[in-house]
Every structure is written in C-alpha cells, then in structure tokens.
Symmetry: C2
C-alpha cells in the first residue's frame, strides 16, 4: 500500500536496536483517514476468507483492527494486557515477550467474546518477531475458534516472524514490508 | 443517544462498587458500526467549537476517540500509560487514580503531538469521578493548548465528576448519563 510506505519513509525514524519509530501515524498519534484506508485495504485482501471477528492486542493494534472491522462490518475484540475487574474469573491467558518493552506481557481474552465456530482475523500494528501475534494465535486456538488470516500494518521481514506462521496455512498480509534497516536506512520491499 | 442507552440496558451489568460492565460493546469487544455512530454524534455536538485535535487515554478511549476524529477529519493522540522507548526523554506526564484498577496510573503525551495553539477535544469512554479526564485536561494545559470540549460515551452522574470541570467553561457532553445504580438497577437520564 503506497500511502503507508510513503509515511514510513517520510515520518518513520530508525532508533537503533531494530526499533522503528512511527509514533506520528500509528503508535501515539493517528490520522483517522489514513487508518480508515488501511482498514479498507485489509478488508479487501481478507474478504475472501470470510472472517466473522477481528482479534487484536491493546494498545496500538486497536486503531487498525477497528477500521478493518468497520470495513468488514464485524466485531473486534482487543486482548487485554491486564485483567480488568469486569472480566470473569475464567479467561484465556497467554504470555508473550514484548520487543519494545523488554518484558513479558500477558494477553487476556474473555471466553464471552471469543468462541468456538468464529472465523478469526488477527490484525496488529507490527509483524516483527511475531511474538505478540503468536500469542493471539494461541488465544484463538484455546478458544476453539478458526484462524483465517493475519494482517499487520508494517512487517519487519528481517526479523523473520512470518516463518513461524507458515505451518498454519492462513493468508498473511502486511501493508508495508521493511527488508532492512541496516545503517539506519529503511529499505522497503517493492510490490 | 438512544442506541447506547439501549445497549447499556440490554448488555450492561452492574458488578457492585459502582462498576458497570460494558465489555461487550466498549471495553473488550467493540461493534465498529455502533462506535462509528458514536463518533458521528460527538462530531455533530462538538463541530461548533472547532477542535483541531482529539486527545484520549489508552485503552478504551481509543475506539470512540478514533471514530470522532474520523468524523471531524482531525488527528487523534492517545496518552500512553507507560513511556514507550520511541518517546523523547522530555514528555508531559501526569498521574491519575484508576477507578477500576485501584492504583495510580501515569498519563504521558509527547510534546511532538500536543502543541501550543491546538484546540483540543478530550474524548473518553467514561466520565465517572473524572480523574482520568482531569489528567488529560492537565496535559492539555501543560502543552499550552486550548481545551475546547470534553466528551464521554457514558457518564455516571452520581459520581459527580462533571462538577470539577464547570470552571473550565467548555462544552461537556455524554452520550448516555446514568443517574443511579442503586440496588443494581441502572437508571438513565431522559433526554
């Protein structure tokens, strides 16, 4: 998707240690018109696998997931990283290492909103090491739901996260794919 | 707004201690079409004060804030509760007690995305004690921006949070106003 590639090159900043700062359009400030376009693009790519539900992880996954859900007219569920007191005692919980925080985080979904028979599309901001998305895959499996696709706004191809999902045999899409950030130069895959 | 009132009565659950569970449409699962309607309603009510930017707090504020930003075609900034490594060293930070978590949480905004001269509309899921929204007000003031309005999906009028904002002389709107939850019975204000 050309718009996101342009934004990565014009506003993204490489901070070292594999960290790409895209706070101005994804992680802290969001242009809703741009995010709506991303949602429509995911919807177009994944319409064929007939998802019935979007699953994402708080926090930065919420905006792209919500806009994809809007375009597909299906509900979105965001996995929580701490269990609110409104959740039932019995939940689906998994643990995933956080690349940007250097700690392990919990991902928690209530069985009320992720059920057997649902066709789940996972949408997140980044596909890097794949740790968070893998957590969402485990939650989907724990619920007995069917995973039908994985979408990320930005893929860091050089972190090789996609590889661990190939055995799942589901469609995997990223709207921009970074092949290298060596020497601070962001290199994007050509479509 | 009738739709949110209907949802509160049909899907909301009173858990005691002033806690209303609305996980099925706001805090864990979101119906994007409903949330888009909420965003359009906020946009309609606040168009007159000409906001240039929406400010919200992660996590549950993101969906209504994004949809309001979409309807107004302005950017949204979500205050972070922990400082990501992508943020600069110098930030605006305030501390607010969390009603549902029983702890104090930090609210952090980067000066990159909240500036002098902006006209800020604060959107959040709940206006209860007003503690979180008050934190967002302080961040707005710290940045030298102008607060032009405060909107919440649900107001718990009996917690009296609105009172502390009357001296600010800005428009305050909630899409549903709960006047009482005594004995577990949710009572909504008539329009």
């Amino acid at each position: 998707m050309q718009k996101i590639k342009d934004l990565i090159l014009s506003e993204g900043t490489y901070l070292g240690n594999g960290i790409l700062k895209v706070d101005s359009f994804i992680n802290h400030q969001v242009d809703p018109i741009f995010m709506e376009e991303c949602g429509r693009e995911f919807a177009r790519r994944f319409a064929g696998v007939k998802p019935t539900r979007i699953l994402t992880a708080e926090i930065s996954g919420i905006a792209p997931a919500l806009m994809t859900a809007r375009a597909l007219k299906i509900p979105v569920v965001f996995a929580r990283k701490s269990k609110p007191i409104t959740m039932p005692d019995q939940v689906y919980l998994t643990v995933a290492p956080s690349h940007t925080k250097g700690v392990f985080v919990e991902l928690i979904v209530s069985p009320e909103y992720l059920k057997h028979g649902e066709r789940v599309l996972i949408i997140d901001d980044f596909l890097a090491s794949g740790a968070t998305i893998n957590g969402l895959v485990r939650l989907t499996q724990a619920a007995g739901a069917t995973l039908v696709g994985i979408g990320a706004l930005i893929e860091k191809e050089f972190e090789d996260g996609r590889k661990q999902f190939t055995s799942l045999n589901v469609q995997i899409e990223s709207l921009a794919c970074i092949t290298s950030m060596d020497n601070g130069k962001i290199v994007l895959r050509e479509d």
